[in-house]
Point group: D2
Chain length 402, copies 4
């Protein structure tokens, strides 16, 4: 048994697997080409089953109704859920809701917790996270034009955001905005503030068409104008100027979630690739899998997926033990490494399927399109490599920022 | 001036460029996410302008109303047209029509030429080419289940095809079917037969959803059932049993067309990448292009695109001089080499654009999805590499098929 | 602290590190370009110190005078020793002696243990392993022409071997020879027999010049003719026909040793690369490490080395728990994966050093030459990938050998 | 026939080929592991034959006793000569002599031509080029500490150089030294001055041991101290302050020479790889070449070598037509592209040969060691990529130096 296995985990994983195989995978073929809203009802039914089976909110501590899994344990659940695009949603641990839950649990006032967090945990509402601005490079987070100006008991928020995932259908957005433009450090200018989506001035301009698809709901990414949005000061999360601190906090476990989800995708793609190799006939007695090129791809994919999983789980363990801040180098490492493994494995799996691989008759082309962003969001490869190298070189006496 | 340049070419290229810049590129942003049929009228207008300007059918010999360009010359036109997904269509030299025109011009009876070819050349009809079958590996063309059985003056065709590009909206299909199942060589069993799409038993099952998109018309790829399709024997192209010979013939220049089109895409992507690098600001005074990683991508892309163009044009020249058969090694080489360069350049260009790169606000994501097939159709990389190595090793005394 | 750390290990590693830094690394610069025999005396002195400090034979169980480390623990020692080409030799756990010791400990008769193993363990003799034959592909071990024919109480051995590492200076060779040519399975024809190097007919033809260097002793690879070599039957290891079984057994931990040694090399190269990046000036105020390309290499190397170490240590742990046979897939995986990481890291480290990198003023060029074989010996990448894919595809119902 | 072929060339190439096959290749096996000086006599005999056959100095114009080949033509000769490490030397067009000849022919005074150039052209002397300094990054040529101070009619030269190829045995060095430290532009401080190697103060400290080998003569790379070296002012090449201008001039054709030589190496390695693939038996009836991985390597190598040759010859043609300055982008492109192809092809060829590939029984391991520098000398990959991207981005309005 794996070094990362626990009894508690072994009890839960098979139950999840059954649900995936019996209820969730079968939906994909007909549903993945539909807009999310046409699928939501069906998924809602599964969410009820998940609750009934005691598998709801597996990411939360016991005191919040979860099972108190460590990050290492939940990582392995996340991998399994990642094998279907619907997995995390059905178990109420989909991004951005999971990140927002973690954020609010750790930092929000009782008022926010009661008003916004509680319904979210119960799966009655949805949320989004509104940070990236089209005018500025996401890789340089301190460049941001959105402002939140205090006026009496309220903040007046103005700004332009995009790639606000799942804003369409969300009940509230957590908005990153400059509250303290005069702060000494650029990292202390921003704050996180909750803006209900029915606030006047909250305008969802469009669901951005990505890779040919606008979609909606949980599967959409919105462009949003905030125009004189007035929200009470008590909607502030944590303290003023803590925006970046909180964002960093949110990203640590977030990257573990992403990486493990990607590994889940890899495993599903790997399985499809092997199945195809073992069955597709090229000529009398010759299967695809008899070709050494295919064998190479299978072997290389296996190696890279194993490497990814070990690195991510060891990183999760370090976070469990000493916190995300101490594990920043490892977190940067897995972010770029696993995202690239994901691209490799998907690409090989498609090539093994030939023309079928680019059709929507199988799921690979879905991920090929929807996961190209993995090398971009939450920091592009380039930024993480530079960050990692910078920390390493600091130990050798070089400050790469000077 | 380039060694491959000619006066005639230099007269035509700037005219094409003007049309692309003034009429065709501007359409892309609003139209690329629409189904082809909603765009066809607008493109039809441009096709009329192309005719007026004497740029219609540039691929044809003078006797057929073209300008009698060599393959080397037309390759360079094709590159330019390839910079827009609408380019070839507007100039009536889009696949599969161009390949079908070349095929019929070289091999069809006067009856066929008058009935089917002439309207195609005039742009009044569309055609498709129906060869690949879902049940069999495209890389082994002799495995094919479609049959054409003679019955009186007719062939009765039965079979199941897919990836019949642009069948939706086509007036006729050129169908590959076994007419001579008892032939000694598996390469002499098949024939090419014209089937009008209004023939009873011609059933377009679906436009296959590819990378999330069914589309229609020129931008679709159909699955087709041929059920007791009765067509007159005079619809046979060439002689019975010549199917593979003709297919090979069709593929030689076809691969030049594809490769040059891909190079056109590369150049457009390269241009977008450089523009972005030169203008996107990362921080005060720092542009994306100041980053060495971006510089590496620009330099490597430039090298690979140049290498691609030289190889393809030299191959075209060899075909011009000694025919496609003698140039088979070169043709295999460019097929896999350029398809991979295309993937590399598109991928880098997307990464340089960050989140914008995966949106449909720019054209890169369109090609990222639609051109993944380049490494698959017309023979996957693996097949071309083995074919090339096989021919090389034959000169060293090894028959890799034994 | 790492999950793979143990108290016993933490006590030993610092002591080894001190010896490396104070005694062993300083030898390299002047000695690495000398033939081994001119270095042996100096290394002999260090071997004595190692004994005095109780660090001798760390790979052996306590009953054999070692410290009873598990493979996981010893792997980490091996990594540290691998940081110098002299490391394993000074601690008496260099290949091929370590493999031979493990082999004899597990399988040899008391006679052999007393006569051959005991002095080897004490460091009084050296040994070699004679399997590969120049006429046959090493990747197909059953092709072998060396024979051992029984004659009375002796075997008469005839054959031609090469790449018998450290044969020069060895006291005995373990020779793989066909004893049972009529055996049903090709895997049951060969046996392992000890041949003292002073046996008549044992002829070391040459130390093969590899990458420009013949060298001698522990750093040489011999070509050997066995001509009517007569050795007593009691020199047989295990039973007749067990040659391949024993070879497999020998290779399992052997590959862990190699991989961990390679990781040691990687870490040293990584350290040199970072030092250079942090100190080499390009222009006023600009160090090599300020260049993003260098940063990329550092980040990618860090990721790949971490991935390697995790995979190897998890594999070692599996061997510790369930034996090498059960871990064959993992062993194949690390063999090709880590060998390629080694090449990558060395190559990047050299490039970072510029012209200095190819000189013998630093150690990188030594490994660049001497470790290119890592992708070849003990099974080339290609063989391990096919082996791994074969085992995977078997689970999908495909036998790739048919 | 190739577009780059000429009648004159076709007359000469076969003669060179005969000499290579009959006289030069056969020397390699026994000689490549010897120091150059032990081989020089034998090579001297071949140089005489070359003269007799009218193949001496093929790089020179007719007025200087050559055959007046264009750079495109000579490039193809250089490729052929490159197939043996002795090729260029036997034909008197080895680096650095060829570069020095070109330099002096174009820029030196009559005195220098008579005194230094004439004997060099006749093959009676050897020369070297002394520019790189160990203390400074070669990629930043303006950092240089060597000085030449005028004193009466002489320059007094002081400095420390290394990687002065073939200094051992040379009659004179062309030294790059700062003569005008106060010049406005850093590019106008240095001059080129001829220093006979018997000048007092010229001290060849060592032949640098590179990849395990010091060697000597033409195959060595020296470290040199210039200590108060007094040489007459008339030894100045061109004018004071023109050092960088001349160095640039020298490098343009020099990079064509290198690239074509590398392509020659690639072709030889490719041939060895194919021979091995076609003959090495893996098992009954199965040759290495039957393995798809080997086929892939052969196909990819063929593509890359073809791409390299086209790019280099088109670049040579541009230099022939409009000069090296106009072709700087192309020159940078081929420098990094071809150097990397060389590494790839050599690496694959070695892997195909298995253990044999790393021995000195075949020539591959020689090039593997001696050509690793190709990605470093004359500007590392990184510098050329940045230079190329910089020129491209300038056209997009970005100055990457700001």
């Amino acid at each position: 048994m794996s070094i990362f296995s626990t009894e508690k985990l072994e009890q839960v994983l098979p139950k999840i697997k059954v649900l995936l195989e019996e209820r969730i995978y079968p939906l994909e073929k007909n549903y993945l080409n539909l807009p999310f809203n046409e699928v939501a009802d069906e998924l809602g039914k599964i969410r009820e089953i998940v609750k009934e089976k005691g598998l709801w909110n597996l990411h939360l501590s016991e005191s919040h109704g979860g099972l108190g899994f460590s990050l290492v344990e939940f990582g392995q659940i996340s991998e399994l859920l990642g094998t279907s695009p619907y997995g995390h949603y059905c178990f109420n641990c989909n991004a951005p809701d999971i990140g927002n839950q973690e954020l609010l649990l750790g930092n929000a006032s009782d008022y926010i917790k009661q008003t916004f967090l509680e319904p979210l945990i119960q799966g009655k509402t949805h949320s989004c996270f509104s940070m990236t601005e089209p005018e500025f490079a996401g890789s340089n987070p301190v460049m941001m034009a959105t402002t939140a100006v205090k006026e009496g008991d309220n903040y007046i928020i103005n700004g332009h955001k995009w790639f606000t995932t799942a804003a369409d259908g969300a009940d509230f957005a957590i908005v990153m905005a400059n509250t303290n433009p005069e702060a000494e450090s650029p990292y202390q200018k921003a704050s996180m503030i909750i803006v209900p989506t029915n606030t006047e001035g909250f305008h969802l301009t469009r669901n951005i068409s990505i890779m040919g698809e606008e979609n909606n709901g949980y599967f959409s990414h919105a462009e949003i104008e905030y125009k004189d949005c007035k929200v009470p000061i008590k909607n502030l999360i944590g303290n003023e100027g803590e925006g970046f601190k909180l964002a960093q906090q949110r990203l640590g476990p977030g990257r573990i979630h992403h990486c493990m989800r990607w590994i889940g995708i890899c495993e599903r793609a790997f399985d499809l690739m092997c199945k195809r190799a073992a069955t597709r006939q090229l000529s009398e007695g010759v299967k695809l899998g008899h070709k050494q090129t295919i064998q190479n791809w299978i072997a290389e994919s296996r190696a890279e997926i194993n490497a990814s999983r070990y690195m991510v789980l060891h990183t999760a363990q370090k976070i469990d033990e000493v916190g995300a801040k101490e594990a920043r180098m490892e977190i940067s490492t897995i972010k770029f490494y696993v995202a690239n493994v994901l691209m490799n494995v998907l690409d090989r799996a498609i090539q093994v399927h030939g023309a079928l691989g680019i059709t929507d008759d199988i799921i690979l082309s879905f991920w090929y399109r929807h996961e190209r962003g993995a090398r971009i969001y939450d920091g592009p490869d380039e930024v993480h490599k530079t960050a990692l190298a910078g920390k390493i070189l600091k130990n050798y006496g070089l400050d790469i920022k000077k």
